[in-house]
């Protein structure tokens, strides 16, 4: 397949979704087979991609370009670098695992799988887009399926279930229904999530259009824009244009990450979502935020990034601590994991904010690692919910006896989440913290204490679910015994532990993507001496060469 690897990865799920349209829901095995098969093709291709990606050469590889509109400068331009490659891999692993996690969906399974496949494919599309237009296109495309997945296959939270029918109907019929937090219904969650993310996506779109317009290059091509767009020092509204663009793009994309205080869609969204959707959403969709910020803001506006990122270093602290405390208080399994995810995304922002080789590499590896860890936890929370029909931690307990396999995996999931040595999370955490120390020692201390907090709430949940005496009403619940049920967990665990023990290739790949980027941001030009707009400046490449900065990462000597 070679050069076409990206097309296989991207289009296999689309083709699967298309094929599913023509299958009847009564042929359950065929539906599952098509879904799993297309996910499998995508998975195999991305494993190939991951190992075929050459970290020594670096840069964008497996590039594919199809012109779409010459007048507007839009083309379907695909390619991956060291940052995109592991995220593509994570997406397809989680998609494949998610297909198996939702094996027992009873209601309209075909439609469910169609949306899951589209969701994952769109996510993958963002990770490989080199064209701003298509990056945004795939980004929006990944948000829309969430609406249907939550609204149709989701679940209400406890409060909602406790309402009497009359109360519920009254609330559901009221005009302000979607704005009522107390209702906790899945429809509310779906509406909120999509509206919130779309609203912020529009901000990002404005940023993208401003880049398009003011660069004057008549192209959405990121590689061209990053070399030739001169967006610095254009005065607008009392500030400069690049800052406005940067803020629009940063906060537009940070909403999905989610950076505090833009996280309010996330816990309720996770809680309402079916297991596979939560997995994909917390596992990879959240990373679209960080990835898009890196791909758009870091690549195209390196100087502004250098100037503005300290702000993220402040906000990330709130993310870490705030999310941790709320997770400690939460009583709903998915709320705990949801808030823990938004807390953990703070670590990624910290790694990004430090603008350091090691810390940004750590942030990228953290995204990969967190995808596996949180995927496991959501899959298991989903399993427990399927068995007990509740996510209320105080009413659960003692399930260890009934589900030894799940509880064993849960320990591993918790260990991965807290960055236990031996899981890839540990490496990521250490890299983020080591790399950020020089710039943000205070944040590092907060982050290290945040790890203690993570442990406290995860173990509280672990104890609440699996230890102690069991309520007799859960005596019918059973463990994951069949291969189909165990496979997704085993995949995620082995990936997490495997890369924890053998991280070299992952590390090299990520470094090959991060190193030139950080070199551009930190070594290029101090903002003060940035070239004026009308005087043509040499391209960044030449500037780098003039300063003796190598774009290629140093080759590791053994």
């Amino acid at each position: 397949m070679g050069d076409y690897a990206l097309l296989y990865i991207l289009f296999a799920p689309f083709v699967g979704a298309l094929a599913l349209i023509f299958v009847s829901n009564r042929q359950a095995m065929l539906v599952r087979g098509i879904a799993a098969g297309s996910a499998f093709v995508s998975l195999i291709a991305s494993i190939y991609l991951f190992y075929a990606y050459d970290p020594v050469r670096g840069g964008f590889q497996f590039v594919q370009k199809f012109e779409w509109s010459r007048q507007l400068g839009i083309s379907l331009y695909l390619g991956v670098d060291g940052i995109g490659t592991p995220l593509v891999l994570a997406s397809s692993i989680l998609l494949f695992a998610g297909i198996f996690v939702s094996w027992h969906v009873k209601d309209r399974m075909k439609e469910f799988y169609i949306w899951i496949l589209i969701l994952a494919a769109a996510t993958i599309g963002v990770f490989m887009s080199l064209d701003l237009f298509f990056l945004y296109f795939f980004y929006e495309m990944s948000v829309i399926p969430m609406y249907l997945l939550l609204g149709m296959w989701g679940s209400h939270t406890k409060k909602y279930l406790e309402m009497t029918d009359a109360e519920g109907l009254k609330q559901r019929d009221s005009v302000g229904f979607i704005f009522n937090f107390g209702s906790n219904s899945k429809e509310y969650a779906a509406m909120k999530l999509v509206l919130f993310l779309s609203a912020f996506a529009v901000a990002a779109l404005m940023g993208i259009l401003l880049i398009y317009k003011y660069s004057g290059l008549n192209t959405f091509d990121i590689l061209v824009l990053r070399e030739q767009a001169h967006l610095m020092n254009i005065p607008v509204l009392g500030t400069t244009l690049d800052k406005i663009i940067w803020v629009l793009i940063f906060f537009g994309f940070a909403s999905i990450a989610p950076l505090w205080p833009l996280h309010s869609w996330s816990p309720v969204g996770h809680a309402a979502a079916p297991a596979a959707t939560s997995m994909l959403h917390a596992g990879v969709l959240m990373k679209l935020g960080h990835f898009s910020i890196i791909r758009v803001a870091f690549e195209i506006l390196p100087e502004t990034t250098h100037e503005m990122m300290p702000m993220a270093a402040v906000l990330c602290m709130f993310s870490i601590i705030y999310g941790g405390f709320v997770a400690f208080y939460a009583k709903d399994t998915k709320y705990v994991i949801g808030y823990s995810s938004s807390s953990h995304m703070g670590y990624v922002f910290l790694g990004m904010a430090a603008l350091d080789y090691i810390s940004l590499s750590g942030a990228v590896i953290y995204m990969f690692a967190h995808a596996m860890a949180t995927g496991m936890l959501f899959a298991m929370a989903g399993w427990v919910y399927d068995q007990t029909h509740t996510r209320d931690i105080p009413s659960l307990g003692g399930l260890s006896n009934k589900m030894p396999f799940i509880s064993g995996c849960f320990v591993v999931g918790c260990m991965a989440s807290i960055g236990m040595p031996g899981t890839v999370n540990f490496i990521a955490e250490v890299m983020i913290i080591v790399g950020s120390w020089n710039k943000y020692p205070f944040q590092v201390v907060v982050a290290v204490l945040g790890i203690v907090l993570t442990l406290a709430y995860l173990f509280k949940m672990m104890r609440g679910l699996f230890y102690g005496p069991m309520d007799q009403k859960y005596s019918h619940s059973h463990d994951a015994v069949s291969a189909v049920d165990r496979l997704p967990l085993l995949i995620m665990i082995s990936v997490s532990v495997g890369f924890g023990l053998f991280p070299m290739h992952l590390y090299n790949v990520v470094r090959s993507g991060v190193d030139p980027l950080i070199a551009r941001i930190t070594h290029v030009v101090p903002v003060a001496s940035a070239p004026a707009i009308d005087s043509p400046s040499p391209s960044v490449q030449e500037q780098l060469a003039a300063r003796g900065v190598q774009l290629q990462p140093e080759r590791m000597t053994e």
């Binding site: 302000g176 208080y329 120390w437």
Partner: protein, 658 residues
């Protein structure tokens, strides 16, 4: 170049690891027999390797550095799975694999017939692997990996009886409290990396003199936080007594002999950094001295046989920290070794008692067991004498050495703390012995009928530990300060500039220590054997003090009040903040959209539509009138057209004229 010792070093952790993999993955497919043979057999093989390595280190006096696996390497960040075996590591390796082997064998008898037998041995072996990595690593990351690994295994094994709420709580508590320490340890690692750009001990220690005193203090204190968590010192000791919820062999192996001494190992390993910071050393000594005294007082009144031993462990670890704090590293390591022998002996004998009494742990319900389980009794007594510090048993030599160092180097306050602690230790240990083995039986009838001596597989390891508890001190540390251990550890733990004590002073101190221990024994004999009524009356006379001690100074309650509750409250507060303020903002925006849409609906309804309606109405009216025009007759139409044309012409004419 092939080196047998290097190969042996690499093999040490491999055997238990293979046992973990086999028992963990396929343990359910074969019998318990095979599982336990794999478990203790693998540890025995490791022990043999350790002996080989030890013999080599002993004869050649060379420390070995072996890279087992290159984990992360590249430019600015290199982390290897590499081992460093020097005399210090050798000491720990011998203790961990030697005592570990005995406890594994004992467990075969103790855990016989339990649910999850294979699971137990899997975790135990995993613990061995982690502990070996901890002491063998040549850099901080491997140390940390082992550090976290033993914490995990401790968690899993404390929570072994997972349907017991107390066990589950104790397990979580142990892990969380340990993690607080680990946070400090992680920070220390980062500080080391930032300052030295490497994490290998040898490279760090070579450059350690370049550190500024402030930085040395910062690193040392962060390391100390980690050590305090793992070694259950003030203020993070509360998890260890609760950890007794685990099976007794776990308490012996993890919570007495090996894991909890990791903090001491870490301090001795980094003593070059500590030596640069007198403040940090002082703090280590204060923490150790206070813990030794504090835990001993709690131990006075506890009624659970394992909890008494747990507090005694905390207290003895305090002695080791005190030793480190005053620079007596060799003495501290010496105490680690003897403590491993006698505390493992005590725990395993206690386990044998519990086994005999079908699970009873409350010493108020024991008594008079010396006749019924004679071997357990004799061995427990040996352990008691050893820990109480009576010559010539093991505990005497090591404890005396620490106290002697404190005295000779003019730390009289620490000496007093240690001496009082030693008195209390002797008292509560003999109290425990009297209440358990002497006096009238207080067991209920049913339990009493089933009392039986433990099988050979349990008593055998006890005997081995008994021998070590008797002779260990003499072999390793005689004569004081110039024993074999001092010579062996000289390259790694010697500190220059110590005061040499005269022989007379040494003898005097030894006499004093013996006297203190005898005094404790005497008091215990008086209160719990000669005149039990006095003990009763004292506990009512000093009810306030007695209850404070019984409730462990209310420290758990205090921590709940200070940390756990505020965390919950803060969580609650932030949850409220999240729902009300942050989500309120979002909802506010949404509500504005709602109002906006309501407003535009109103406009649509009453302005736009109304306007249209007015037009429509006008139209309607006009149409009503106009209907008459549409009569359907052609000549009417023709007339209208002509009239219209006239009108049009008139308008055009008007426009042109303007």
């Amino acid at each position: 170049m092939f080196d047998l010792t290097d190969l042996l070093i690499k093999l040490i952790p491999v055997f238990p690891l293979l046992a973990v993999i086999s028992n963990g993955l396929f343990g359910s497919r074969y019998s318990h027999e095979i599982a336990h043979r794999l478990a203790w057999g693998s540890v025995a093989l490791s022990f043999l390797c350790v002996i080989g390595v030890f013999a080599d280190v002993l004869s050649s006096r060379v420390s070995h550095e072996v890279i087992a696996y290159q984990w992360i390497f590249g430019g600015d960040l290199t982390i290897n799975l590499a081992y460093l075996v020097d005399p210090l590591t050798c000491v720990w390796l011998l203790v961990v694999t030697g005592v570990g082997f005995l406890i594994h064998v004992y467990s075969v008898g103790y855990m016989h017939g339990e649910d999850g037998f294979t699971r137990f041995f899997t975790y135990m072996n995993l613990f061995m692997v982690s502990m070996l990595l901890l002491v063998m690593g040549n850099n901080y990351v491997v140390l940390f990996i082992g550090w976290e690994g033993v914490g995990l295994c401790s968690y899993l094994l404390i929570g072994y009886y997972y349907d017991k709420v107390s066990a589950a709580k104790a397990a979580s508590k142990a892990f969380v409290v340990n993690r607080i320490g680990d946070a400090g340890f992680l920070l220390a690692i980062f500080l080391v990396f930032i300052n030295f750009k490497t994490l290998d001990y040898t490279k760090v220690m070579a450059q350690v003199s370049q550190l500024s005193p402030e930085m040395a203090t910062a690193i040392a204190l962060c390391l100390l936080i980690g050590a305090v968590g793992k070694s259950a010192q003030l203020p993070l000791y509360t998890w260890l007594p609760d950890a007794m919820e685990g099976p007794t062999p776990v308490s012996a192996l993890i919570h007495a002999a090996t894991m909890v001494t990791a903090g001491v190992y870490m301090i001795v390993r980094n003593h070059a950094i500590f030596d640069m910071s007198p403040i940090a050393m002082e703090i280590v000594a204060v923490v150790g001295g206070c813990t030794a005294l504090f835990a001993a007082t709690i131990g006075l009144v506890q009624t659970d046989i394992k909890r008494v031993l747990a507090y005694s462990t905390v207290s003895q670890l305090g002695y080791m920290f005190l030793g480190c704090g005053i620079g007596a590293y060799t003495a501290a390591v010496f105490h680690v070794m003897t403590h491993a022998f006698f505390k493992a002996l005590l725990f395993l004998s206690a386990g044998s008692v519990i086994h005999a009494l079908s699970g009873e742990q409350d010493i108020r319900k024991m008594g008079g067991l010396s006749k019924k389980i004679p071997w357990t009794y004799r061995l427990f007594l040996i352990g008691t004498i050893a820990i109480a510090g009576l010559p010539p048993l093991a505990g005497f030599w090591s404890k005396d050495e620490i106290m002697g160092h404190a005295f000779v180097n003019h730390h009289y306050l620490y000496y007093t703390m240690a001496a009082v602690g030693a008195f209390l230790t002797s008292f509560y240990m003999f109290r425990l012995t009297y209440l358990t083995f002497y006096g009238p039986s207080r067991m209920d009838h049913h339990t009493e009928e089933h009392v039986h001596e433990s099988p050979m597989v349990m008593v055998g390891p006890l005997m081995a530990l008994g021998v070590l508890s008797v002779l260990g001190g003499l072999i390793l540390g005689f004569p004081p300060d110039h024993g074999w251990l001092h010579g062996f550890l000289a390259p790694v733990a010697a500190v220059a500039g110590e005061h040499e004590a005269s022989a007379g002073l040494i003898l005097l101190l030894m006499g004093a220590a013996t006297g203190i221990a005898l005094l404790g024994w005497g008091l215990a004999h008086f209160l719990y054997s000669a005149s039990p009524a006095t003990a009763e009356s004292w506990s009512t006379k000093f009810a306030g003090a007695y209850n404070t001690l019984l409730n462990k100074y209310y420290v758990d309650e205090l921590y709940d009040f200070l940390f756990v509750e505020p965390t919950k409250r803060l969580g609650e507060l932030l949850d409220w903040f999240d729902r009300t303020i942050i989500d309120g903002l979002v909802r506010g925006v949404a509500l504005m959209a709602d109002w906006g849409s309501a407003g535009s609906t109103w406009i649509e309804k009453y302005v736009v539509y109304a306007g249209l309606n007015v037009i429509g109405l006008g139209n309607h009216m006009a149409a009503r009138q106009g209907r008459r025009l549409q009569s359907g007759m052609v000549h009417h139409y023709a007339a209208l057209i002509i009239a219209g044309l006239f009108l049009l012409a008139l308008v055009v004419q008007l426009i042109i004229q303007l």
